[in-house]
């Protein structure tokens, strides 16, 4: 079965700091990879996705992620975070119709 691991449960950082969230998956075949964000009290929104092509994908709000096939990883990065980036971040992998989520990483940005 597909599994998705997010390395960090809770990350606390100051504004302007750089952010990197790790994500690894267990499926060896072709995958579609996603990062979703859930702001406090809101629904999930797509940050970015990777289907094929350039392994470095850029998303909304200055986020980017790099797909490294050999490491089964899809890490999320942002060079300089803002207070408004405080949210829950979910990595997800699509296997057919089924989207498997990681456990999520809570990111708290201190002003």
């Amino acid at each position: 079965a597909q599994s998705v691991s997010q390395h960090n449960h809770h990350v606390i950082l100051s504004e302007a700091a750089s952010l990197e969230l790790g994500c690894n998956y267990s499926y060896g075949g072709t995958v579609n990879l996603f990062w979703y964000v859930q702001y406090p009290g809101q629904h999930l929104q797509l940050l970015l996705k990777y289907f094929s092509g350039d392994p470095l994908v850029k998303g909304i709000k200055g986020f980017e992620a790099e797909f490294i096939k050999s490491k089964f990883s899809f890490n999320l990065r942002k060079p300089s975070v803002q207070w408004s980036d405080t949210a829950e971040y979910f990595c997800a992998v699509n296997q057919g119709y089924k989207l498997s989520f990681g456990a999520g990483t809570t990111v708290t940005v201190r002003a």
């Binding site: 579609n32 629904h43 119709y97 089924k98 989207l99 989520f101 999520g104 809570t106």
Partner: protein, 114 residues
């Protein structure tokens, strides 16, 4: 315009009751989903319907019964509610012809069972 909408937003009820959550999408998508997010924020798929046909049923108790009257609606009925059913339930949909494409989520329904 709301893309994926759910009603109600909050639902508080007693153990043993039966309740329904409704979901509608106006994106023209063929596939719809129900997810459960527990108190630790963990998201797990429950059901998926494609063109009104059930395609995923993830070992959910049969107290939970999804119903899709048409492609734009996927409702979730829960019988004999239990304390452990307390969670946030998210509906989602994805475009036709691409099972692996992006899923669009509704605002969630926070269910509290007392």
């Amino acid at each position: 315009d709301t893309a994926v909408s759910q009603t109600p937003k909050y639902l508080v009820t007693q153990m043993g009751n039966d309740k329904s959550i409704k979901c509608e999408q106006n994106l023209g998508h063929d596939t719809m989903y129900w997810y459960k997010q527990d108190s630790k924020k963990f998201l797990k798929i429950m059901f998926s319907y494609n063109n009104k046909e059930l395609i995923i049923n993830e070992t959910v108790p049969n107290r939970f019964s999804p119903k899709s009257p048409d492609k734009a609606h996927l409702n979730l009925h829960i019988n004999s509610l239990e304390l452990g059913d307390s969670a946030v339930y998210f509906c989602a949909s994805s475009p036709p012809g691409a099972s692996t494409d992006t899923q669009y989520f509704g605002p969630g329904t926070r269910l509290t069972v007392l």
